[in-house]
């Protein structure tokens, strides 16, 4: 029995991802973790790209030229959507973690998704029509 405990988990580390037959709360957790990973990657890239500001006008400006590519703008939209979801669900997790509104955790998630989706659509419209 004790040999099952605390063994380094190298074989099923991805099982947190298994949402089959699960309810809203598990979906919320999986999305929260996925957006977290996406945002960490974005954070790293953002900090590095901003470093080109110290290399003179050409370095940064040529990156800006890249940023007009629609694929790039789509990527930015994903970041915005991820940040919206992660931040709003984060507030939901914060509330429930301190005992507030636990019986309404599912309804809260619907509100989080609604705001995240609507916000993303608004951003998409403004980003692709600019």
């Amino acid at each position: 029995m004790s040999e099952r405990e605390n063994k380094p988990n190298t074989s099923n580390w991805f099982m947190w991802f298994d949402v089959r037959h699960r309810d809203i709360g598990d979906w919320a957790f999986v999305l929260h973790r996925l957006t977290a990973l996406g945002l960490v990657l974005y954070l790293g890239m953002h900090l590095i790209v901003l470093g080109t500001l110290t290399l003179g006008p050409d370095a940064f400006n040529s990156f800006i030229d890249l940023a007009h590519n629609p694929l790039f703008i789509f990527g930015e939209l994903l970041v915005v959507a991820a940040a919206l979801y992660h931040g709003l669900n984060g507030l939901r997790v914060g509330l429930t973690s301190f005992g507030v509104a636990i019986p309404y955790q599912k309804q809260l998630w619907y509100v989080v998704m609604a705001i995240a989706v609507i916000g993303s659509i608004i951003f998409a419209i403004s980003m692709f029509t600019a």
């Binding site: 029995m1 099952r4 947190w16 709360g25 957790f29």
Partner: protein, 242 residues
Amino acid sequence: MSTSKWDVTFLVYRKKGQGTPHYDEFTIKVNPDEYVLDAIERIWAYQDRSLVFAHACHHSTCGACGMRVNGVEKLTCITLIRDVTADGGKVKVDPLRNFPIISDLTVDMGVLYTRMDEVGHRPVLPLSEEPAEPGVKPVKIAAEGDIIRLADCIECGLCISACPIANTTSGYLGPAVLAGALQHGLDSDQHLFSLVEGENGVWRCHSAFECTEVCPSYVEPAGKIMELRKQVIWKRIFGIAK
């Protein structure tokens, strides 16, 4: 009450020893107002005596008959067949997740029972310490001659099966155990506090709320984990748990 029988096909998980797991199909006539456990019993009695499954009280008090029905954790003694399928339909029956499988639908719950003991969960306790109505705060000091009750948690393990963190690591104490620790409180026991605050304790929960979702006994383990977190924080900041 309907007396006409349904034809239902049960896909039952089978695993013996080191053999490969597979599903056996059993099509039987059932009364839809019977329970999934009744169907499993009938399959065992009339079709396959080698089917191994756990059951005892048949009224949701012992916690023995937990299984996954169509993928979702249920106490099969109180799961109506009409709630999980239709006439001519199929029902998939699997053992609980996150426990080692002994045989077929029976899992080894030893780790859970040991951990419940370790956090001092009492299956029978005074009413003042675990009120039967929700929202009533427990009063720790039990009066003499106080009424006693069975604890809400029947140690059925459905919550452990449903928890995504327990799914990735067997070390995580799990919802039932953490909720059980709340029964004891964190002021009385240094070891319990360390267990709860440690790398396999409350901070491993990621608020999936699946435990509360499947609990058949109104324990609301997710809420209890949050309550326990508050106690841990209070004790770290102020020296005593709230």
